[in-house]
C-alpha cells in the first residue's frame, strides 16, 4: 500500500519558509562553526544555522545487508563471508568491512528496517523522502528538508550537494529552488562553469554584474510574481559561487596526499569532498556509490565494492571526522533503496528484498549499537522492526529538526516524517 500524504485544502497553513527567512539571521550570527584550518581567513563568512550536518552515503541498487552490516556466517543464506569482530565487543560485521569495523564504537546499525517497496525507483524515492511516489505529487528529499531547515541565510555555497549521485534524487520546490540537490559529477570538475570565461577579466566581470543589476532593476521593479524571486535567487547564487572564498572547499587536492590515499578510490575521494563541504558549512551532502544491484555474482561484486570503495571511504570518513572534532555534529548515514534476498539465486546473486534490511549511521553520539535483529537466516524479523517514518523521525531528531514539522507542496501539507516516532534506542 502506498503511503498517502495528508491531503490539505489549498492555501491553508503557513509555509515553513516564511518562518525560516526571519529565524535564520540571528542563529547564523551566534552559531559557532567547525574548526576551519583550510578556510581560516573566512571565519566570519562560514558556519551554518545549526551545528549539525548530514552526510548520506547512498548505495544505489540496494546493497546486500548479509554481506555487510548483518552477516550470517555459517548459514546457507550467509554466503562465503566470515563474521568479523569489531571494536565493540559482541558486534560482528561481514568480513570485507575491515576499516569500518574498527570504527564500530561510532557506528549504529538498524538491522530490521522494513518497507513495502522492492522496485528501484520506488524504493529510492521512499528512502530519500519518507514517502512512496504518488504521481503528480512532489515530495522533498531529506537533503532538501535538512538544507532548508539548517542553512543560514546568504550562505554562498549550495546547501545540498549531491556528489556523483547513484540514481535520481526526487526534486521538490517545496522550500524553493536553492534547496534542491546541487549535483557534482566528480571531484575533478566539481562546479562546471564556475570560472569566468577565458576572455573576461575579473574587473570586466564585476562591471557586468553592475550592468546586470541596473538592467534588472526597472523590469523587476514594475512586476511581481514568484518567478522574479526565483530567478533573482538563482542568479545571485551563481554570482556568489563565482566569488566566494568558500569555493576552495570543493578542492580535495588541498588535502595531504597521505589522507587522500587513505580515503581510497573515487568513492573515497567523494567522501573526502563531503567532509570538506560540511566543514565549510554545507548542511547536507549526498555521496553516491552504485553497483549494488547484484542479481549475478553477488559475492564477487560486493567483495570488490566494499574493499575498494565503501570500506576505505566510509571507514576513513568516520575516522577523519572524529580526528577533526566534527563527528559529534555530523550524522553519517549509509543506506540504499532496499536490501537483498537472503536466499542466493541460481546465478549466485541476490535479488531485491525490502522485508528486513540494514541502515547504518555514525556520529551525533549514536555509536556502538545494534538496533533490532533478523533471525539466523536473515529471512524474518526477530526483534525491533523499524519503519521508514520511524527512521526519518530518528534522523531529524538527532540533528535537531522537529520531525513533525511540515512543508506544503502541490497544495498538500506533508509532515517531514509522516507521523513516525523516533527510535528511542538511538537517542
Amino acid at each position: 500500500m502506498t503511503i498517502c500524504s495528508d491531503c490539505a485544502t489549498p492555501g491553508v497553513g503557513v509555509s515553513r519558509r516564511s518562518f525560516l527567512r526571519f529565524g535564520m539571521g540571528a542563529a547564523a550570527a551566534s552559531a559557532a562553526g567547525f574548526p576551519l584550518p583550510l578556510l581560516a581567513q573566512d571565519k566570519d563568512t562560514v558556519a551554518g544555522g545549526s551545528g549539525k550536518s548530514v552526510i548520506l552515503l547512498w548505495m544505489g541498487g540496494g546493497p546486500s545487508q548479509l554481506d555487510t552490516w548483518d552477516p550470517k556466517p555459517g548459514q546457507k543464506t550467509g554466503g562465503p563471508f566470515k563474521g568479523l569482530e569489531t571494536s565493540v565487543r559482541g558486534i560482528q560485521l561481514a568480513e570485507p568491512m575491515e576499516r569500518i569495523s574498527k570504527q564500530m564504537k561510532h557506528v549504529a546499525v538498524v538491522r530490521a528496517l522494513t518497507t513495502m517497496e522492492a522496485a528501484h525507483e520506488r524504493g529510492a524515492h521512499l528512502l530519500h523522502t519518507c514517502f512512496a511516489p504518488i504521481p503528480g505529487q512532489d515530495f522533498a528529499a531529506m537533503g532538501t528538508v535538512v538544507a532548508a531547515e539548517l542553512t543560514r541565510k546568504d550562505f554562498p555555497l549550495p546547501s545540498y550537494v549531491a556528489v556523483s549521485p547513484a540514481g535520481p534524487i526526487p526534486q521538490s520546490t517545496a522550500f524553493g529552488e536553492e534547496f534542491q540537490a546541487f549535483t557534482v559529477a566528480n571531484v575533478d570538475n566539481p562546479v562546471p562553469n564556475v570560472a569566468r570565461s577565458g576572455g573576461v577579466s575579473a574587473d570586466r566581470q564585476a562591471a557586468r554584474e553592475k550592468l546586470l543589476d541596473a538592467q534588472n532593476e526597472e523590469f523587476e521593479g514594475r512586476r511581481e510574481g514568484r518567478v522574479i524571486e526565483k530567478t533573482r535567487t538563482a542568479v545571485k547564487k551563481a554570482g556568489d559561487l563565482m566569488t566566494t572564498p568558500l569555493l576552495k572547499a570543493f578542492n580535495v587536492k588541498a588535502e595531504s596526499e597521505e589522507l587522500r590515499k587513505e580515503y581510497g578510490g573515487y568513492f573515497g575521494q567523494n567522501c573526502l569532498l563531503a567532509r570538506r563541504l560540511v566543514q565549510a558549512g554545507v548542511k547536507f551532502v549526498e555521496v553516491g556509490l552504485g553497483g549494488w544491484d547484484t542479481h549475478y555474482n553477488n559475492f564477487e561484486a560486493v567483495n570488490k565494492l566494499v574493499r575498494e570503495e565503501l570500506d576505505p571511504g566510509m571507514g576513513t570518513l568516520i575516522a577523519d571526522l572524529d580526528r577533526q572534532g566534527m563527528l559529534k555534529d555530523t550524522l553519517v548515514l549509509c543506506m540504499g533503496e532496499f536490501g537483498r534476498t537472503p536466499e542466493i539465486n541460481a546465478s549466485n546473486g541476490r535479488d531485491h528484498w525490502c522485508k528486513a534490511f540494514s541502515v547504518a549511521m555514525a556520529g551525533c553520539g549514536v555509536g556502538g549499537r545494534i538496533i533490532g535483529a533478523t533471525d539466523k537466516t536473515g529471512m524474518e524479523i526477530q526483534d525491533r522492526p523499524v519503519t521508514v517514518p520511524e527512521l526519518f523521525a530518528t534522523i531529524y531528531r538527532l540533528i535537531g529538526i522537529p520531525e513533525n514539522n511540515h512543508y506544503i507542496v502541490n497544495a498538500r501539507k506533508v509532515k517531514y516524517s509522516y507521523g513516525g516516532k523516533p527510535v528511542k534506542e538511538l537517542l
Partner: protein
C-alpha cells in the same frame, strides 16, 4: 553583411504578405473580457494594465504557441506592420505551424503521463533507454498528427483508452504501458485517468475517504476495476516472447477471464464503477464503456478540465488551482468564466486550437505584464510572469545570440555537429531532451545560471562572428542604433526608458566589440530574458 541582407529581404517579404482584412476574433474572446471587466468593476478598485505593446505581445505569443521567441527579421516586420488585425493573423499563423503541433503534443503528453518527464515503465522486465526513447518518439509522432488535425479531445480519449496490441503496430499503446510503474497498474490507472482527463484527485481516497470531498475508497477502487483485465507481454525484436532479455516491444491485451480486483480492506470483489456514475454490465467492453462515461456531457468534467488546463497554460494560472484538483472546497476562482469557455469548447468540437485562438485573441491575454498605477485589481488584470521552459530557453539563447531565427526545435533532438554540441552542453545542466522535458519549467538553479553566465558554448555564441554582437558592430549608425539592434535581437523589442542612453555610453567607453558582447551577455542573463512575460 550577407546575413543582414537576407533578413531585410525576409522582412520585406513578410511585411508585404497580404493581410486578411476580414479576420475576426471568435465571439468567445470579447465574452471573456466582458466577464473579467464586470468582475473588476464589482469587486475591486484600480485599473487593469493596458494592452501590451506589439513587442511584448509577439514574444509572449511566440513562446506560448511555438516554444521559442521570434527572430529579428520577424520582429521588425511585425513592429512595422500597420494592419489592425496583425495580432490575430500572427496567432493563426502560429497555431497552424508544425512547431505548435509539436509543442501541444508534448504538453498533452505531460498531462497524460502526469508530469513524469518520460513514461516510467516497469512491467516486470527492463527496458533499455533506447527502447523507451523509441517508444516515446513514436507515440509523440502520432500525438502530433492528432494535434495537427485538431482531433476533438473525446476522440483522443477513445483512442488512448481503447489502444490494444503491439507497440510497433500501434504506438499509442504506450499510454497503457506506462501504467506499469511498479505499483499495481490498475491503481496507477485510477489515479492517472482521474487526474489527466477529469482534473480530479481520486487517489486521495485510496487510503482513506477524501477528507473534504465526496470521493470514497470505493470510487478509487471502482475506477481501478476497469483496468484489472489488462495484461502486458514483453516481446523481443521479432515480436516473439522476450526470454531473459530486455523488452523491445510490448503487447497489451485484455483477458476477459481475469479475476476482478479485491478490495484490500474488506476483501470483497470490486465491481468497476465510475466515480461520476455508471457501471458496465458483465458482457460490456469496459474501455469504450468507460470512455463514454468520462466524456458524458451531462457532467462535462472532461471539457471543464481541458478548458482549465488551456487557461492555465496561456494565462499562467488555472481558474482552478492546482489544475488536477477540482473538488467541492476548491472551486473555480471565476466560475462564470470557466463555464463560459467550457460551453464554447463543447460547442466547437472540443477543439484545443479553437480555445487557444479565442484566449490569445482576448484583451485579457494581451495585457501588459508591468504594473500600471498602484491599485488592487487582480484576477488576470495584467499578464502573469512565468519561468521559461527548458525548450524555450534553449531556443531563446540560440535566437538571441545568432542574430536570427535559424535554430532547430529542441523537441527534434538529437542533432549532429554544432547543434549537437550545444544541445549536449545544455543537456548536462538542464536535462537531456527526453520525452517532453522541454515543456517543463526550469528548476532555475545556480548550476544552470552558471552555464548561461560562463558556459564556453554560450560565450562562443556571444562572440561568434556572424552573431548578434558582431552584426551589431557592423550596423551603420550611432551607438544608439547598435543598442537598438541588440535589444531587438535579444529581447524582441526596442530599448525603453534609460536603456538606450545607458548602453550607448557604455559602448562609447569600450573599444571594438567588447561593449557589445557585454550588452548581449547582460541581456541574456537578465530577468526580462529569463521569464515569459
Amino acid at each position: 553583411m550577407k546575413t543582414v541582407g537576407v533578413f531585410l529581404a525576409l522582412a520585406v517579404a513578410l511585411g508585404m504578405a497580404p493581410q486578411d482584412r476580414n479576420l475576426k476574433p471568435p465571439d468567445l474572446s470579447p465574452a471573456i473580457d466582458r466577464i473579467l471587466e464586470a468582475r473588476w468593476k464589482k469587486d475591486v478598485k484600480g485599473d487593469p494594465a493596458p494592452l501590451a505593446d506589439d513587442a511584448e505581445f509577439l514574444r509572449r505569443v511566440s513562446l506560448d504557441l511555438r516554444g521559442r521567441p521570434a527572430g529579428l527579421a520577424e520582429v521588425k516586420a511585425f513592429l512595422a506592420d500597420p494592419a489592425e488585425s496583425k495580432r490575430l493573423a500572427k496567432i493563426d499563423e502560429y497555431l497552424a505551424s508544425a512547431e505548435c503541433n509539436r509543442l501541444m503534443a508534448r504538453r498533452l503528453a505531460s498531462v497524460l503521463f502526469n508530469d513524469y518527464d518520460r513514461p516510467y515503465i516497469q512491467p516486470g522486465k527492463n527496458f533499455s533507454y533506447q527502447t523507451v526513447q523509441r517508444l516515446v518518439k513514436d507515440f509523440l509522432a502520432i500525438l502530433e498528427e492528432r494535434v495537427a488535425k485538431d482531433v476533438p479531445i473525446p476522440m483522443l480519449l477513445d483512442e488512448l483508452l481503447e489502444a490494444k496490441g503491439r507497440t510497433d503496430k500501434n504506438p499509442l499503446v504506450l499510454y497503457k504501458l506506462s501504467m506499469w510503474t511498479g505499483d499495481l497498474p490498475a491503481f496507477e490507472f485510477s489515479d492517472r485517468v482521474s487526474k489527466s482527463w477529469l482534473g480530479i484527485r481520486v487517489s486521495c481516497a485510496r487510503c482513506h475517504d477524501h477528507p473534504f470531498d465526496r470521493w470514497t475508497q470505493e470510487d478509487f477502487y471502482g475506477l481501478s476495476g476497469f483496468f484489472t483485465r489488462h495484461k502486458v507481454k514483453c516481446l523481443d525484436k521479432g515480436g516473439g516472447m522476450a526470454m531473459g532479455t530486455d523488452c523491445e516491444e510490448v503487447e497489451i491485451e485484455e483477458d476477459p477471464k481475469a479475476p476482478e480486483l479485491t478490495n484490500p480492506d474488506s476483501g470483497g470483489l470490486l465491481k468497476p464503477t465510475f466515480l461520476l456514475g455508471g457501471s458496465p454490465g458483465s458482457k460490456e467492453d469496459r474501455m469504450p464503456f468507460l470512455a463514454n462515461l468520462i466524456r458524458n456531457p451531462g457532467h462535462n468534467q472532461l471539457a471543464r478540465n481541458f478548458t482549465n488546463r488551456m487557461w492555465d497554460w496561456l494565462m499562467g494560472r488555472g481558474l482552478v488551482m492546482p489544475v488536477d484538483d477540482f473538488n467541492q472546497k476548491n472551486k473555480a476562482s471565476i466560475h462564470e468564466l470557466l463555464e463560459k469557455i467550457t460551453g464554447d469548447f463543447s460547442k466547437n468540437k472540443y477543439s484545443l486550437k479553437h480555445i487557444a485562438r479565442a484566449i490569445c485573441a482576448s484583451k485579457a491575454y494581451q495585457r501588459a505584464s508591468a504594473r500600471g498605477e498602484p491599485g488592487d485589481v487582480k484576477d488576470y488584470a495584467r499578464a502573469t510572469l512565468k519561468g521559461l521552459t527548458v525548450g524555450q530557453l534553449f531556443m531563446s539563447i540560440a535566437v538571441a545570440t545568432r542574430g536570427g531565427d535559424t535554430a532547430p526545435d529542441r523537441a527534434q533532438a538529437p542533432f549532429n555537429g554544432w547543434w549537437g554540441w550545444y544541445a549536449g552542453q545544455m543537456g548536462l545542466v538542464f536535462g537531456p531532451s527526453v520525452g517532453w522535458t522541454e515543456v517543463t519549467l526550469l528548476p532555475g538553479n545556480a548550476r544552470q545560471m552558471l552555464m548561461i553566465r560562463n558556459g564556453e558554448i554560450i560565450q562562443q555564441m556571444i562572440r561568434n562572428p556572424g552573431g548578434t554582437a558582431s552584426l551589431a558592430a557592423k550596423v551603420d549608425g550611432s551607438p544608439a542604433d547598435k543598442v537598438e539592434f541588440v535589444f531587438l535581437s535579444v529581447y524582441g523589442g526596442k530599448p525603453q526608458g534609460q536603456e538606450t542612453a545607458r548602453w550607448a555610453s557604455w559602448l562609447e567607453s569600450k573599444k571594438g566589440e567588447a561593449g557589445l558582447t557585454d550588452l548581449v551577455w547582460t541581456l541574456i542573463n537578465s530577468t526580462e530574458f529569463l521569464t515569459r512575460h
